[in-house]
Amino acid sequence: MPKFWRGALYAALLVAALYYLLPLYVMVITSIKTMDQIRAGNLLSLPTGISFEAWGKAWSGACTGVDCSGLQPFFWNSIRMVIPAVLISTTLGALNGYVLSKWRFRGSELTFALILFGVFIPFQVVLLPMAQTLGWFGIANSIAGLVTVHVIYGLASTTLFFRNYYVSIPDELIKAARLDGAGFWRIFLRIIIPMSTPIIMVVLIWQFTQIWNDFLFGVVFSAGDSKPITVGLNNLANTSTSVKEYNVDMSAALIAALPTILVYVFAGKYFVRGLTAGAVKG
């Protein structure tokens, strides 16, 4: 009997997995079909031959509005936005978490509560004041502006992640280091950071996914040649030509999704490990 249930369990999991993978399957096979194959077959039918023509076009030839240089410029914009934004917000989050858990001051709990509040603020609420602020700083419609927005908006969650991880580090460790003559920075760099690998991975993945996939800030705070890939993808799919090129659309969507997929593949094991760290004493 247990054997039967085990079999049933795996069958159910398999169905669920197929259900979730189906859209990806459709995207991948559509992207490698030619338009003739798409017209001839149905959504699920396998391609008769493999063609990467659509990928090439999506990368460097497809039209977004009047400009026809594909997703390429948007992709590099996103890279130039996501790397500084992720690194800065993670660094500041680690520092905030370290201070709020290990160097408490009068009002530090209130400060944390207020920062926490930032996690719950919807994107839409900050659009207008943020646009005004970026204007004052003179970085509106630039990649620097987008980086600033993402750093500020990401601080709340990175602080939350690091603070909750550091709370589980015993205070005695800090006391011991202070008696050993280490100060604020030396304790942070020599004791705390080396212990933080799991949570750093979590925050890096989290921030990378958030910032890479963001559309709203991208579409509002960028213009001309500073648009990120999500905006580029939208423009590409919405630019109407005589025929709807499904294979190019699918290739473009896959290109836009690829970096986050890769990040999960290479760092995913840390993600689960980091999220559960502290739950069980090692």
Partner: protein, 363 residues
């Protein structure tokens, strides 16, 4: 001035008074124990000595120097923590070296010190391991090694043995005492374990509710407890506390004790101090070992045995006097089984008396 002097130190958090005026002074090379139940303020006092917290009022002097405004690292102290507080990402060698590194000790000297400390604590083979690869006892040893490498004028131990199992705790206790004999460095040691306090200390400060209840040698505290709390806290099994009325009979001051079936008036030799207290409710404190088994004599009582607890060398016999449970530590040869009767004679010459209301010592 001594190695450590604490002068009228208080610590308040808002309206909560953690320490209410602590005065302690010890000589160089002494082993001071701070003992008390949890929440008595002993760890706060330790942190104040270390400089990790600052006192609300009062002064701390280490080695004759006022250190209130001196940072922990500049107080020439080293501390061993209950959780050992080893840096988890560094191996044992790096753990010991970290403090010397921040103080700028030359690399060659560091290596010499590490070698010396490792030899002293017999942990040469552990130097390249991470703390997670060590057993509890080994971690304890490394934590001590880290403190020794500092070569301070004052060692602070914050419940260092609490996380070890019973057997290891006794072994490490002996080792700490041997270490102290060898190094002759002043030690302040916080514990809630009265056996550790008795076995290790030259001086014991018994604390409760932020006040030092008694400060003295272990023997002093054991034999001459200042009040009911100290008497009950030190000693295992605990001192017996028998409620009585102080009375005068045939010109002698004493109390009457009643076992199940027999009552007897027992004259107290401490009479001189008790003259004013006749008729008062008092508490007679007798330690379990202050009962003797006799065949028959004037001051003995026939006591019914309720329960026996053999420990090997002694057998604890539980009986009843004046309506409260009383424990007597007897030689196994003399102990009777439950339900039987044994004649016990209390040795009142070492007994102590407390005021039933104030719990202060009367005599």
């Amino acid at each position: 001035m001594g190695a450590l002097a604490i002068k009228n130190v208080t610590k308040n958090f808002g309206d909560t008074h953690i320490l209410k005026g602590i005065d302690i002074e010890i000589e160089s090379g002494q082993f001071l124990i701070l003992v008390g139940p949890s929440g008595c303020g002993k760890s706060t006092l330790m942190n104040i000595i270390a400089g990790l917290e600052s006192p609300s009022t009062g002064e701390v002097h280490i080695g004759g120097r006022m250190v209130n405004n001196v940072a922990p690292k500049d107080r020439d102290i080293a501390m061993v923590f209950q959780s050992y507080a080893l840096y988890p990402t560094m191996n044992v060698r790096q753990n010991i070296a970290f403090g010397m590194e921040t103080r700028g000790v030359p690399k060659k000297e560091q290596d010499e010190i590490i070698a010396r400390v490792a030899k002293m604590l017999q942990m040469d083979h552990l130097l390249d391991r991470k703390p997670s690869q060590l057993s509890g006892g080994q971690r304890q040893r490394v934590a001590m090694g880290r403190a020794l490498a500092r070569d301070p004028i004052l060692f602070l131990f914050d419940e260092p043995l609490s996380n070890l199992d019973a057997k290891l705790r006794v072994e490490m206790r002996t080792e700490i005492k041997q270490l102290h004999h060898r190094l002759k460095t002043t030690i302040v040691y916080v514990t809630h374990d009265q056996i550790e306090a008795m076995t290790l200390g030259d001086k014991i400060a018994v604390m409760k509710d932020g006040v030092i209840q008694q400060f003295g040698s272990p023997q002093d505290i054991y034999e001459q407890p200042a009040n009911l709390f100290v008497a009950s806290f030190i000693g295992s099994p605990s001192m017996n506390f028998i409620p009585c009325h102080l009375a005068e009979q045939n010109g002698a001051l004493g109390v009457s004790l009643q076992s199940e079936g027999e009552a007897r008036f027992i004259a107290l030799p401490q009479a001189a101090k008790l003259v004013g207290a006749v008729g008062k409710k008092v508490i007679l404190g007798i330690r379990p070992e202050q009962f003797d088994v006799v065949i028959d004599s004037g001051d003995s009582l026939a006591c019914k045995v309720h329960l026996t607890e053999p420990t090997g060398p002694d057998t604890m016999v539980l009986t009843q006097l004046n309506g409260v449970e009383v424990c007597a530590r007897l030689h196994p040869r003399d102990a009777k089984g439950p339900g039987e009767t044994v004649r016990l004679q209390p040795d009142v010459s070492k007994a102590v008396l407390f005021d039933a209301e104030t719990e202060a010592r009367l005599a």
